[in-house]
């Protein structure tokens, strides 16, 4: 039972650029993340951190190597099995919020439950409760474009949480927000991690955001340049 929630073994991701050539975005990456950790993945743009994030989120598969999520090798799963994993195990929070613009806030939050097979009344009931928890219960009937960026990101978090996932993957979650709202969102993440034991992985290029986590994985040129407690890794990169 001491199995880590996430284990990356010798992950390689390369993209073909024609004529048999390819460019590597990830080169032999190994690490493991236990359930309940709060991890930042930091690196400059083009470092491969987004590619890593997509593989961790089962949105993409590695070219070689293995990625085990909850003990299952994602490379061996069908598209539908991966969809089920994303639905039940993972909650996504994106930089651009990625809410469906034509749906109400409530419908947006309820959507993962519909895909999990619940009927509309039940999923609406749970979605309403989820919105209440992030403090947006009164905005359920609004549409995303009627909300501020911070509010939209809270809706996205409510959507990520609604199916009670074990893992939340946040890709530059504060990239489109001002510093005060960013601070609020990161505090919300901290609470979720502490109070409910949800494993959190935040991809960012800002050290201030990365500091909210307890562990930092530093990615440079598709390789892990540092992995450990946040401050020690940050000091090493600064020097």
């Amino acid at each position: 039972m001491n199995r880590p929630l996430i284990r990356a073994v010798d992950l390689v991701k390369s993209y073909p650029i024609g004529a048999g050539e390819s460019v590597a975005a990830l080169r032999h990456v190994d690490f493991a993340i236990d359930a309940g950790e709060f991890v930042s993945i930091m690196g400059p743009s083009g470092s491969g951190k987004s590619t890593l994030m997509n593989i961790l989120g089962c949105l993409d598969t590695a070219t070689t190597g293995h990625y085990f999520l909850n003990g299952q090798d994602s490379g061996r799963l069908s598209a539908d099995a991966l969809a089920a994993l994303r639905n039940r195990l993972i909650g996504f929070v994106f930089q651009g919020f990625n809410l469906l613009p034509r749906k109400t806030i409530l419908d947006n939050v309820a959507l993962p439950l519909l895909y999990a097979g619940l009927n509309r009344p039940e999923s609406h009931r749970r979605a309403a409760a989820g919105l209440e928890r992030v403090g947006l219960g009164s905005l359920a009937r609004q549409r995303p474009n009627q909300l501020s960026g911070g509010q939209q990101q809270r809706v996205a978090i409510a959507r990520a949480l609604v199916n009670e996932p074990r893992l939340i993957l946040a890709d530059e979650p504060t990239g489109n927000l001002d510093s005060r709202t960013s601070e609020d969102i990161m505090k919300l993440f901290g609470q979720l991690n502490e109070a409910r034991g949800i494993t959190l992985i935040v991809v960012t290029h800002e050290p201030d955001i990365a500091r909210h986590a307890r562990r930092l994985i530093h990615v440079v040129d598709g390789m892990i340049a540092g992995d450990g407690a946040v401050e020690s890794v940050l000091q090493r990169t600064a020097s």
Binding site: L59, A83, A84, L99, L114, Y115, N163
Partner: protein, 407 residues
């Protein structure tokens, strides 16, 4: 996702772009409307033809006398006096023949009070009513007795009654034909137009003997112009035709190799041909109209492809939060199906009312049948599935990460 919820998703995205959905639907509306309307017109024509066939009487032959030659000029069928009443009596004895009606027609003026009307007055026998399946709306027909004693009695068609009597019942009154008084015995039921467009109700029938002796003279005693012959059943028609031919040849003492001096025509076969032609026409109308259904289907496919491209990012988001391929496939398929079904429902209504408008304005007979509407509906549904499937599969086959990154 539960199918009902996928339907809801499809309905939502249809409603989100009403103008486009409406225009796409218009293609289906026009297609289905055209099919329903064209089938209604085609079936209306078929109905008209089958009505005239039914009014003609079933299993009918007509036997015309041969052509006469005067001064080297052959004058056409029915001109030579070769058929006689005796021939008719002999034919009636044939096993496959049900009724034989010799006919001696001629035009004559009819007078009643101050009204007069010229029409075809045909001398015939009571068998005529049986051969033509012709009933009476008032009074009755003449009998064998009337034929034997050449009484001056007449049976009138609807058109003649209208022109001479208006709304009155003429039975029991006396009219004058070529200045001889005739007692009106009965009024024939209306039959409408024949296949060749003649008004079958514009006629008056008298006993054949009366016609020969008292109306049109007796140039050739016992001669008739043609005979209507009814076979017992449809199946016995070829036997009846052979029997009639053999009998007439032997009665007319024709040697083998000599040409017939009469003509036998199978009216029922002619009618079948006419019915076949109309059916073919109605099929043609239907297939031309279904081309527009096809065009409507391509319209759906076109719009769905655009929609898939436009909503690539949305598809990516849905996949990221757990939509399986089936969920995406069904959502787009249902959307195409709903457009085609709703469009064909409206189209069926348009075709239905259009058909009535056509019948009111142009005066054409139209027949809208349940199966023609059903057929158009089913075809439209298959068009929706067929043309919706490719875009839906394209959407479902997107890779989550690429769909999500799509700008």
């Amino acid at each position: 996702m539960i199918v009902r919820e996928i339907l809801g998703e499809a309905g939502q995205s249809m409603g989100a772009n009403r103008l486009r959905t409406g225009l796409t639907m218009l293609g289906m509306i026009i297609g289905v409307g055209a099919v329903v309307l064209m089938l209604a017109i085609g079936q209306g024509a078929q109905y008209m033809v089958s009505e005239s066939i039914a009014s003609m009487g079933s299993n009918l032959f007509i036997v015309l006398s041969g052509s006469s030659t005067s001064g080297g000029l052959r004058t056409g069928s029915g001109t030579a006096p070769t058929l006689t009443l005796k021939d008719a009596e002999a034919i009636e004895e044939l096993p496959d023949v049900e009724a034989v009606a010799p006919v001696m027609p001629n035009n004559a003026p009819l007078i009643h009070g101050a009204s007069n009307w010229s029409t075809m007055v045909a001398g015939t026998t009571p068998s005529y009513f049986a051969a033509r399946d012709w009933s009476f709306v008032s009074g009755e027909g003449f009998t064998e007795n009337d034929v034997r004693s050449a009484t001056r009695v007449v049976v009138l068609g609807q058109r003649v009654v209208q022109n001479l009597f208006g709304d009155e019942d003429p039975v029991g009154t006396t009219i004058r034909i070529k200045n001889s008084p005739f007692l009106v015995l009965g009024v024939l039921a209306p039959k409408g137009q024949s296949l060749d467009g003649r008004d079958q109700d514009d006629t008056a029938l008298v006993p054949v003997t009366t016609a020969q002796r008292q109306l049109f003279g007796d140039q050739f005693p016992g001669m008739v112009r043609f005979m209507m012959i009814k076979a017992r059943t449809r199946e016995s028609m070829p036997w009846a035709e052979q029997g009639i031919r053999d009998l007439l040849r032997s009665r007319h003492r024709l040697r083998p190799g000599q040409e017939d001096d009469f003509t036998v025509r199978n009216l029922t076969a002619l009618a079948q041909t006419a019915a076949g032609t109309t059916r073919a026409m109605s099929m043609m109308l239907g297939s031309i109209a279904s081309v527009s259904l096809l065009v409507g289907g391509i319209g759906i496919m076109n719009i769905m492809l655009v929609s898939v491209t436009e909503r690539t990012r949305e598809i990516g988001i849905r996949m990221a939060i757990g939509a399986r391929r089936r969920d995406i496939l069904l959502q787009f398929l249902f959307e195409a199906l709903m457009i085609s079904l709703l469009g064909s429902l409206i189209g069926a209504l348009v075709g239905f009312f259009g058909a009535f408008a056509v019948s009111r304005i142009v005066g054409m007979t139209v027949v809208v049948t349940v199966w023609s509407v059903l057929l158009a509906f089913l075809v439209a549904a298959s068009v929706g599935i067929f043309f919706g499937f490719y875009p839906a599969r394209k959407a479902a086959g997107l890779r989550p990460i690429e769909a999500l990154r799509y700008q």
